[in-house]
């Protein structure tokens, strides 16, 4: 807080002083498209230097791959490698760290797993987050969890309360009643495969379904649209109603959450990486997977792995460019994202509002920002890192990808600061550094008709002894889906190896 006397001594605040914006440093980080484009364009790769016999090869070190490895390891199977093309494993759960805090690069939370989510609970028990039927208070998002900047000020929670009319509130209630009915059907589960049944809801958009239900309240529509943008990177009009409902109906946590850490889901990834580091090979992209008799050859520039089973945990859209004889994945759609980590060496002035963990601006095209120091035990924070999310949902994915690549860092920096300035007019005086990460295929997008399509069903089956494990097979990219798919694929691979008998070196 500025003191009254300091105020008198600070002519700048009277507004008659020239405004000086500070210099902000930064750039693009973690660009992965050059490698992706090399695979797409079938650019030449070097032949591997050595050959190794490894019964199970996991391709992709994101959450699906890490959890597949976790499961193999738990079952006592140790003859496998986990190959990650980037220098850092973690995929969408990658994280960073600077002198202020660790921070996430994308996935930043897991809703508190409900009773039925046995896999997630098993992992969290192992990681010490779930103990004797209780969740570790320090991993549950601290109060206040969420806030929304609306009508010129912050309100607690992101469901728009401020300015909501009686009619709006009646619609909120009706919407939640509908959601409760859906929840009671048992078809909206986590992971989705457990309960999902083909439904006409998948053939219409979330926006159309809401219109059909007479739910036209502007703040409610904003809220559901925000949910679709947040979890699927798509507008409600481009999201399957089934998926839109899944977002709300699949969760019934018994504890106020979600689970989160300063580095987001990087916390989970880091622990899995630590546990599995003997198996992990990073920075060595797989450029070819080919069958050879009963065996599968997995090629990187360093090593040719001769394996019995492959777990393809990398995004499914990459499979046709790498795996021999695999069809294209036209039905799969991915939303591109932009995330930015902003280093703030001053906390923006807040009028009567304490910063929350998740901070959303009403009617903004962005998804707002998550505060990395929120999960700090400190009572006083004077510097922080904000992770800013933007799903570019208003564009068609291909157009958004083009835009993402066409514009320079300065353009995105300005866009981010202009967006944040709506809620924080002094943001430019607080930010010192902005790193931006562009992800062309960040999240699977459950477009209407996709979830119960023949195409998706095809990909759920293994291609010979190649098991597909990426969360995009569920139609949306969330931690629990990745974990489920990874473990399922690991079980499939184990069956193959089990029937082949344990190899002898």
């Amino acid at each position: 807080m500025l003191s009254r006397r300091e105020f008198f001594g600070a002519p700048a605040l009277i507004g008659l002083w020239p405004k000086t914006d500070r210099k902000i440093t930064g750039g693009f980080v973690n660009d992965s498209f050059p490698l992706g484009h090399r695979l797409r364009d079938r650019a030449p790769f070097r032949a591997p230097a050595q050959q190794l016999r490894v019964p199970i090869v996991i391709v992709g070190g994101g959450m699906a791959g890490l959890n597949a490895a976790w499961h193999l390891d738990k079952r006592g199977f140790r003859d496998f490698v986990l190959l990650e093309m980037e220098q850092q494993a973690g995929g969408n759960a990658r994280w960073g760290e600077n002198e202020i805090s660790k921070f996430p690069w994308a996935a930043h939370y897991v809703p508190v797993p409900a009773k039925g989510e046995s896999l997630a609970r098993e992992l969290f028990e192992e990681l010490g987050v779930f103990h004797d039927g209780k969740w570790d208070e320090r991993a549950l998002c601290f109060d206040p969890q969420e806030r929304l900047f609306i009508n010129g000020h912050w309100q607690e929670g992101i469901e728009p309360e401020d300015g909501a009319t009686l009619r709006d509130r009646a619609q909120y209630r009706r919407f939640m009643e509908k959601i409760n009915e859906f929840r009671a059907t048992g078809q909206f589960t986590v992971p989705m495969e457990r309960g999902a049944k083909p439904s006409p809801l998948d053939h219409m958009s979330m926006a159309d379904w809401m219109t059909q239900q007479g739910l036209d309240s502007a703040p409610l529509r904003w809220y559901t649209n925000y949910a679709c943008r947040d979890d699927y990177g798509a507008l409600a009009k481009d999201t399957s109603a089934w998926a839109g409902i899944q977002y709300f109906a699949s969760r019934e946590p018994e504890e106020k959450g979600p689970l989160t850490w300063p580095e987001g889901n990087g916390w989970i990834a880091a622990r899995l990486i630590e546990k599995l580091k003997r198996h992990l090979r990073t920075g060595d992209p797989v450029y070819r997977v080919a069958r050879s008799g009963n065996r599968i050859r997995v090629l990187t520039e360093q090593t040719e792995y001769i394996s019995d089973a492959v777990i393809w945990a990398a995004p499914t859209f990459l499979a046709p460019y790498v795996i021999e004889g695999v069809p294209h994945v036209d039905a799969f759609q991915y939303s591109p994202w932009l995330t930015a980590n902003l280093t703030l060496d001053r906390i923006p002035a807040q009028k009567n509002a304490e910063p929350a963990w998740d901070n959303v601006i009403y009617d903004s095209p962005s998804l707002g920002y998550v505060n990395a120091t929120h999960m700090s035990l400190a009572t006083h924070v004077d510097r922080t890192v904000w992770t800013f999310y933007w799903s570019l949902a208003e564009y068609a994915p291909a157009d958004a990808r083009r835009l993402l690549l066409a514009k320079d860092w300065n353009f995105w920096k300005e866009a981010i600061l202009n967006d944040l300035a709506r809620a924080h007019p002094d943001i430019r005086q607080c930010v010192a550094h902005i790193d931006i990460m562009r992800i062309g295929h960040a999240m699977a997008r459950p477009s209407p008709g996709f979830l119960f399509s023949e195409q998706r069903a095809q990909w759920l089956k293994p291609a010979g002894n190649i098991f597909f494990a990426n969360s995009d097979l569920s139609g949306f990219s969330i931690f629990e889906e990745a974990q489920y798919r990874g473990v399922e694929a690991a079980q499939g691979a184990l069956r193959v190896v089990g029937s082949a008998g344990r190899p002898i070196y």
């Binding site: 807080m1 008198f8 001594g9 605040l13 009277i14 008659l16 504890e255 035990l377 009572t379 924070v381």
Partner: protein, 498 residues
């Protein structure tokens, strides 16, 4: 002569703008919302100038005398405008009303100045020349004022003195006019005398300027502020009235020297005196050193570690003669180690164990402070208790914030400890609550250190008896992910305040 005339225009224009800027600045500083304050004040001010210009037509005779009187009035109202506004904010509920009355009054008077002056000068100059000169100097004055205001006046003089100084300029113009136009007015000596009186008044005002601007601060504090500093963590204010020293952190009273012994004896002795022999004590918060003063009354104590966030606070209570005398120079004692750190984080990285822990934090007025009252915090503190050790927690008022108090008790209990809630009456606070947490059963002490002013073996047991109006009410424990305490606390103190 001509230059002198137009210099007067320059000066009155500058004065007029200064009063407008002062009103805008003061309003945005005291009420916030700069854009709103400046817009409405500029709007009202210009509109009032329009009223003044309109009213000028009704003035017919004795224009110079009237001009001089108006200058005097502007000098008085404008010169004292910021004083009036500061005092209005400090002592009345009608700040906004008085603000706009002052703005409209000054605006109207300022609006009269130029039309009158032009009519006075119309005989001496051609109309073309007159309009050009007057308006040029009018605008130049505005420029000068608007540059001077942020660069020099606000930082160097402050708002109260700036207004008074420009009030004197207005009166100076008035006095000067009595010479310039002496043949056009009769009773110059009356006007001149008035000018002298007003200048004397304004000059006297500048002597009291600091006291007046402090009034807005002091309105929060009943007594004279003898020390105030804003650190990166909080605003520390010390007030004094006769022999009563009071410490405020962010406007919340921390202690009054008249009765703090009640608070600190009750904080320390019921727990500490009941332990057989205590060697290591940890004090979390309590940067005033008053709890440490009480703990040092036990000869068995080998070391006391005090962890307080704010280095300026512990520095002040180590070096300031008045404040260090109050805590018996406890921070200079060789057994005391002062650490400036964030208590929760510090405890999380520390592995030491203590026989007695004192958690003396500010009340949970925010989610940030509320973390220090959570089950997670008490679980962590419990891990730092040596076998048979105890923790005591300052727990707000069980009378004014009854549910908050029992919420804190519930939170300590939830961390696995037995709880022994107690309370004491501290006149400057009212009824105040504490809770002892222990893994072993607790009995109030049968012996106390010598020289206590409030506690005795006869009354220490009574602290644990709660009258009906403070007895337990249902409350959830306060958790990091669900800080019910902050919400209880806000609601309960709101109810007390209204």
């Amino acid at each position: 002569m001509t230059i002198a005339l137009f210099l007067s225009v320059f000066l009155i224009a500058a004065c007029g703008l200064i009063y407008e800027l002062i009103a805008g600045t003061l309003a945005s500083y005291l009420l916030g919302d700069t854009v709103f304050q400046f817009s409405t004040i500029i709007g009202c001010y210009l509109f009032a100038m329009g009223i003044g210009s309109y009213l000028s037509r009704f003035l017919h005779r004795g224009l110079v005398a009237r001009f001089v009187s108006i200058e005097l009035m502007v000098g008085v109202v404008g010169g004292f405008s910021s004083s009036i506004l500061f005092l209005a904010f400090a002592y009345t509920e009608a700040f906004r009303f008085i603000l706009y009355v002052v703005v409209i009054l000054v605006g109207t008077l300022v609006g009269l100045e130029i039309p009158l002056l032009m009519r006075i000068l119309k005989e001496r100059f051609q109309f073309r020349e007159l309009v050009s000169h007057v308006l040029t100097f009018d605008y130049l004055g505005a420029l000068g004022a608007s540059l001077l205001f942020p660069i020099l006046l606000v930082p160097k003089l402050g708002l109260v003195r700036s207004a008074l100084v420009f009030g004197i300029f207005n009166v100076g113009v008035a006095l000067w006019s009595t010479y310039l136009f002496r043949e056009q007015i009769g009773r110059t000596h009356v006007l001149r005398a008035s000018c002298v009186v007003v200048v004397a008044l304004l000059a006297a005002g500048t002597v009291f300027a600091d006291r007046i601007s402090n009034a807005a601060d002091n309105s929060l504090y009943a007594d004279e502020v003898i020390f105030s500093r804003t650190t990166p963590y909080q605003r520390i204010v010390l007030t004094k009235w006769k022999d009563d020293l009071r410490l405020f952190l962010n406007s919340h009273l921390q202690f009054s020297s008249r009765d703090e012994y009640r608070y600190h004896e009750a904080l320390v002795h019921p727990g500490l005196a009941a332990l057989p022999s205590t060697r290591h004590v940890l004090v979390l918060g309590g940067g005033d050193g008053l709890a440490v003063r009480e703990i040092l009354k036990y000869p068995s104590i080998e070391n006391i570690t005090l962890v307080d966030l704010d280095p300026e606070m512990t520095h002040l209570f180590t070096t300031h003669p008045v404040m260090s005398a109050l805590n018996g120079h406890s921070f200079s004692n060789a057994r005391v180690h002062v650490i400036n750190a964030d208590a929760f984080r510090w405890l999380d990285t520390n592995t030491e164990q203590y026989d007695f822990i004192v958690a003396d934090f500010p009340d949970p007025t925010s989610y940030a402070l509320g973390k220090l009252f959570t089950t997670a915090f008490y679980r962590l503190a419990a891990k730092h208790l040596a076998s048979g050790g105890m923790i005591v927690v300052q727990s707000t008022s069980p009378l004014f914030a009854r549910q908050s108090y029992w919420c804190i008790v519930e939170s300590v209990k939830e961390a696995g400890m037995r709880v022994y809630p107690y309370h004491v009456y501290v006149p400057s606070f009212g009824e105040w609550g504490y809770v002892l947490g222990s893994f072993a059963p607790y009995e109030p002490p049968r012996q106390l250190p010598a020289g206590l002013r409030f506690l005795s073996t006869a009354n220490v047991g009574e602290l644990f008896v709660f009258p009906v109006d403070m007895q337990p009410v249902p409350a959830e424990p306060n958790r990091l992910n669900d800080q019910v305490l902050v919400r209880y606390y806000e609601q309960e103190w709101k109810d007390v305040a209204h």
